[in-house]
């Protein structure tokens, strides 16, 4: 029996738009195991981004429970959610979301700056991770001086710098050409092989080849949970 990293019970997210309410998540139950590579697929507006935001502690559900590593996080305060984002979750976005005026070393140091690691220590750690993703020779470059694939590698480095429990990736190949995309998927596979838990929202069918399991979400509900 594998350890459960994430469990959601009847997760709800309803947006109150004044006149009417919009239900983004309508009772999502999902269990994600340690070391799993899970792909979440679904059409636009299906609620998969909302689910990602809640799993990533960027947003809070309006109903149901979200248990991350045996801790109920759906009712945490904003300050505690920030600590969870910092320590236990690594984010990779479709649009990279790097800080443009900082060099990539500083970008990768960012999470450890917020967790209070000393400047020397976090610099060493950031260099180590950037070398791991093949950018050890670009430390002083600004994101604008790098290609899309290289930027996404920086974003991955930033996501894993604090050794999080899960890595959340929201369409990480969506803005990349085919070659760079498979490059990035290769890195995620490597991370998976090293034992990391990866949850990825994607349209990309090639991900099916890499993921252990694919869940489909439509109208805020999970329609299947097959083991791939």
């Amino acid at each position: 029996m594998q350890d459960i990293v994430i469990r959601t019970e009847n997760l709800q997210k309803v947006y109150d738009m004044g006149k009417h309410k919009v239900t983004a998540l309508d009772g999502v139950d999902v269990e994600i195991y340690k070391g799993e590579f899970l792909a979440i697929m679904g059409p636009s507006g299906s609620g998969k981004s909302t689910l990602m935001h809640i799993l990533g502690c960027l947003d809070t559900p309006t109903g149901g429970n979200y248990i991350l590593e045996a801790q109920e996080v759906s009712k945490l305060k904003k300050r505690q959610l920030a600590a969870v984002r910092n320590q236990r979750i690594g984010f990779v976005f479709q649009t990279f979301n790097l800080l443009p005026h900082l060099n990539i070393l500083k970008n990768v140091e960012l999470p450890q700056m917020y967790s209070g690691v000393s400047p020397a220590k976090r610099k060493n750690r950031a260099i180590e991770i950037l070398e791991q993703v093949g950018l050890g020779d670009r430390l002083r470059h600004k994101p604008s001086e790098l290609s899309g694939g290289q930027r996404q590698r920086v974003a991955i480095a930033r996501a894993i710098v604090n050794n999080p429990a899960i890595i959340l990736a929201d369409e990480p190949t969506g803005n990349l050409d085919t070659n760079s995309g498979s490059d990035i998927l290769g890195i995620f596979s490597e991370l998976h092989d090293q034992g990391n838990t990866i949850i990825m929202v994607t349209h990309d069918p090639r991900v099916a080849g890499k993921a252990n399991r694919i869940i489909h979400i439509i109208d805020g509900k999970i329609t299947n949970g097959d083991i791939a």
Binding site: R85, F91, Y114, G116, N162
Partner: protein, 410 residues
Amino acid sequence: MAISLRESVVVGLSDLWIRKVRTVVTVMGIVLGTMSIIVVLSLVKGVNNMTEQWLQERGGATKISVYRNWEYNVTNRERWYFDYKELRLIQSLIPEALYFNPTSNEWRHYRSYYNGNEFWTPVQGIFPDFEKIEEWTVQQGRFINNFDLDAYNDVIVIGTTVKKELFGNENPIGKYIYVMDRKFQVIGVMKHRYMKSRNQMGDENALEYLNQRCFVPLSTVMHKVSNEVYIRAFTVKAKTVSGVTPLKEKLENILLNLRHGHPVFMVESAKDQIDQNSQDTMVFKIIFIMISSISLFVGGIVITNIMLATIQERTREIGIRMATGARRIDIFIQFLVQTVLTTLIGGILGILLGLSILDKVGSFINMDVVVDAHMIVLAVVISAGVGLIFGIAPAIHASNLNPVKALRYE
């Protein structure tokens, strides 16, 4: 663990550096505000110092002067001057006074002769206390004493310019000069008086008129030279500054009694002048501090506005920082520190600008301006304070952004 202050300063400074032009424009209000604080405080301090120095030269704060009151029209039967007996009476009525000195008028010039040289000089009849009250004594020979006064001696003490004009390099002590149709023996030469005053022509001695004077016993003038020497003024020195006001009031009563209740004379103390002067400069100070405050307030509002715009521009950055673990307090500190840094830069620019303006203004109006360290500290504290106050609202706004919305912001 929070982002450290040092990190916030580094992040804030680099952001201000990236947006240099905006930074400079943003801080203009603060620059003007701190500049005017520095300029006004220094000018006021300079004026006060100059006044105090002047009063010190004129006999210090314990001096009380009695003049004819020009606002009062005397009737035929009232005397607007003192006779010798009255002066002696007044002197005996105020034993608490440290010194007492009446002087005959100082604007009438007499021709003085010595050995073919002549010089027009105002000759003043005085009491021996003159040297104590004016804090001015001889550099050579001796001053007039009580014996000279009681004996109506024909002795004279001359100023340095008189000495130079009549005697050149010759020693004047013991020599006789003719003045006011009498022969006077020179017994002393007063010390040279000098106070620098700058004007368009260059440096000048503001006290030169004193060096041109001669002094003789008042009794000699009044009894032997002319019976038309009118004493309309005398000077008294109190023992202490706190004794000035009671002594002044007592003198006012004595003078009113001597003239049957009519205000023929007025009594004025140097302390009144100092108080009046500091009142005047206080008004000046308050007006300009108000102007500076308005400038700082407007500057502060501009900064709030610009910071809100900056934060809007950097919404996505804030989202990214939050996604990587920044807490609300981290974002709050980051933007508050940046605002304070902005106003501090403005404050420092204002201080530098103020100092360079003072340099020009000071030489233009012939005044030594005084810049104290505590004025600079005050300006720095005020500019940082403006940043703290006007930075709070934008910083709260930034820290309250929703991470999801901030990340999606385009």
